[in-house]
Symmetry: C2
Subunit: 454 residues, 2 copies
């Protein structure tokens, strides 16, 4: 019996010591994150001094310069900018007034959709046609649509616990509504803000016109404004709307991804990327979307460096430019990686807000997924339990073509769309501990991915 037990015990003791060491390293990462304010201070700068960081704007340039320096402060061995072509859309004066013989007159809380066409300074006036979906529109007589402002008013389904599913099921109105309404002769569209919440903030976002259609103006209206407009239409279907939105689209311009790299100890030419997007909509500080993801990515470098955690691969924190309008920063990053023949081992995107960490979504299958899910045991002391199959995000997504393991960081997502793409997405809406725990979770996963080899 002794002869058999002895080697078994040795193996068990060795394995236990190793698991304990791993847990200890993760502990040091979390302790460092929870007692350091630099990520929070970086967030404050991006929100308060470089808010409204739409690609092509002056604010985005301030953010590029600031994060370049922040990456150096965090301990990156090299920091560089990567040129990216971006659209150059500029919001104008905007106003939307309902005039009803029955109910009187009312200004709505609105914001032009990104990349939308504008009106002239006098604006346009027309009657309103309310629909719940693009399909409903397609089944109407063209004569009912011609010359009208189409009002897309399908609310987000609040019973969906996954708020991103609710968003995903309603966002087609915002992305394709203008293009589809234009085909049938509409002269503009008003889209209900795509959010679960009843508030008076317009939540903007991008709209896309299909090739060949006339680009008609498109604005988002707050959910409270949408409810009001819908109610007024019930008592007065012939009410008129006057809309001004003098936004313009200038020629494409140049911007940059900001990249900081911590050189690996042995596999220097293999890369793990962590990233968020540096641009935001122009009307918002973009704290949750996605200054938070950027400062967490910078903090990953600081955490690995300051705790002395040895990572064999090189770790890159990337501030992607122009996720919001056409995701050209993520595309460029992957294209250059492919050109250089770089080996990108894994990529983690943080772009779902800065709430308490819940886990990660892995774009993997079978036994690989099972092994990745088993990493959740190291996160139990931090109550981070949701290790599931899932996707990454718009920015690291193109790296999939290089065979890179795609991972999405998943915080609690219940309140995200209260902020998303609106003036409500402020620094004040981020809790420092929720930010810190997220950075620590991502840094810990980087360490584990490197340590265990997937």
């Amino acid at each position: 019996v002794k002869k058999i037990l002895f080697p078994v015990l040795i193996v068990m003791i060795t394995w236990q010591a190793s698991a304990q060491d791993v847990q200890k390293i993760i502990g040091s990462i979390f302790n460092s994150a929870l007692t350091d304010r630099s990520a929070y201070n970086n967030l404050e700068y991006l929100c308060k001094h470089a808010g409204g960081r739409l690609a092509g704007s002056q604010a985005s340039v301030r953010a590029i310069e600031y994060t370049r320096e922040a990456l150096l402060r965090a301990g990156a061995d090299t920091v560089w900018l990567q040129e990216v072509t971006v659209p150059h859309w500029v919001r104008g004066y905007e106003r939307c007034t309902i005039s009803s013989a029955v109910n009187g007159s009312k200004n709505l809380s609105i914001a032009a959709l990104g990349l939308s066409a504008g009106t002239d300074t006098l604006g346009i006036s027309a009657g309103v046609l309310e629909v719940q979906s693009i399909n409903e529109l397609k089944n109407l007589d063209k004569s009912k649509i011609e010359g009208k402002i189409v009002f897309f008013n399908r609310p987000v389904d609040n019973t969906l616990v996954n708020t991103f599913s609710g968003y995903g099921n309603a966002v087609d109105q915002r992305i394709s509504g203008a293009s589809e309404a234009s085909r049938f002769g509409a002269i503009a569209v008003i889209v209900r803000s795509v959010t679960q919440f009843i508030d008076d903030y317009p939540h903007t976002g991008v709209t896309h016109y299909e090739g060949g259609v006339k680009k008609i103006p498109a604005i988002a209206v707050s959910t409270m404004g949408a409810d009001l407009l819908s109610n007024w239409l019930k008592s007065d279907p012939s009410l008129m709307v006057h809309m001004v939105s003098t936004c313009t689209t200038l020629p494409d311009t140049v911007s940059w991804n900001v990249i900081g790299e911590l050189r690996g100890t042995s596999k220097k030419n293999e890369f793990i990327t962590v990233g968020g997007h540096l641009d935001s909509w122009d009307i918002t500080e973009g704290a949750h979307d996605d200054a938070g993801g950027c400062v967490q990515s910078i903090e990953v470098l600081r955490l690995l460096k300051s705790t002395g955690t040895r990572i064999s691969r090189s770790v890159r924190a990337v501030m992607f430019m122009n996720e919001e309008m056409s995701a050209s920063g993520g595309r460029e990053y992957a294209d250059i990686a492919a050109e250089k023949g770089e080996l990108h081992y894994a990529a983690i995107e943080s772009d779902r807000g800065v709430m308490s960490p819940r886990g990660f979504g892995f774009d993997a299958e079978g036994s690989r997924l099972k092994r990745l899910k088993s990493l959740s045991k190291y996160f139990l002391p931090y109550n981070i339990r949701d290790f599931d199959k899932g996707g990454s995000g718009a920015d690291v997504g193109p790296l999939k073509e290089l065979g890179t393991l795609q991972i999405g960081y998943i915080p609690d997502i219940q309140r995200y769309f209260a902020y998303h793409h609106s003036v409500n997405d402020t620094f004040e809406q981020v809790n420092i501990r929720e930010l810190q725990l997220g950075s620590a979770a991502i840094a810990s996963l980087v360490y584990l991915l490197d340590h265990f080899n997937y």
Copy 2:
């Protein structure tokens, strides 16, 4: 083979149908919660129209009357008030100024501790002795303490992921600091606010004097104020503080628990209690602490009633009075239950804020705990996974003497102490979905506890 398989299949189909039915009922509860605003509207009333609901105050009376009506609206079969004796402490004028020959003069953000003794209107002036703990104080020469204002300045340990543990490890300074300092001849105490966050809000809370000690004034100072005072003391140990706090303790008075009952379908004389506390500190709307727990408890009745969920036992939603100063409401509720010989099957307390639901803590052991934990499977569609051993809370705690299963509702707790006992605990800091999901989780657990018998 057919002979064996047939009954096995029947049993499997029956069992599956049952599990599906259970899941369907829980689904209907969540759907109803996520599409109804009455709990949120009730919360708004309690925060905005009956804020500062300290036991014995006029605001608390408005809250009692409002929740009595809200319970009837929610569908309670019976609603009644239960008399509770409560302390009657009233805040006065309060100010605290540092005067330093080196640094000048500065007012601190302060709030008297609940039940603390006051000063006269002229206040008191004295030098300041900073300590990190009661133990440090006890080891000092009494001569160093006499005539001084003792400043307890031990921060909460931010590396503890469980914020309630961090709070628990630091709150002794607030609860016993004044009493202990008084023994050594101090004339007042200033206590660093017990919170993980650096802000300029004083976070108040109760203090207790041991019998026989002189009751000396006690105030909380904001964490920013505490850091400032500590820094000034380093450059000028002889600085003086002038403190005014004209709070008074009046004779005990009468208040009420508010109880709404939904009669059980068969075991009418067995009870499941869900509850929160209706009182709050006087300086705050008390949205997270604990108007949220109250409106969630009311909502549990509405959800069970409106979805037609059959519960064999009677379900009581209880708004406990005076949790903050001496928890006399919870004590009274259990005492009356004991007097009447009532059978209290289970009790769930919601008093950890209104963040996204994470799970429940069960005060159970062995196979019973294991069975309770297995209920988590029904909550997987809602990402509610933390079913662990744990406690209930100050209000339903006394029911343990009757053998009642004690359960605490556990939301995400990272940002709770940013609000706790401060003016920052407002209606605006509550997200409607996080509130709704919590109500649905508690109502679902009530149904499951009743359905499966633990």
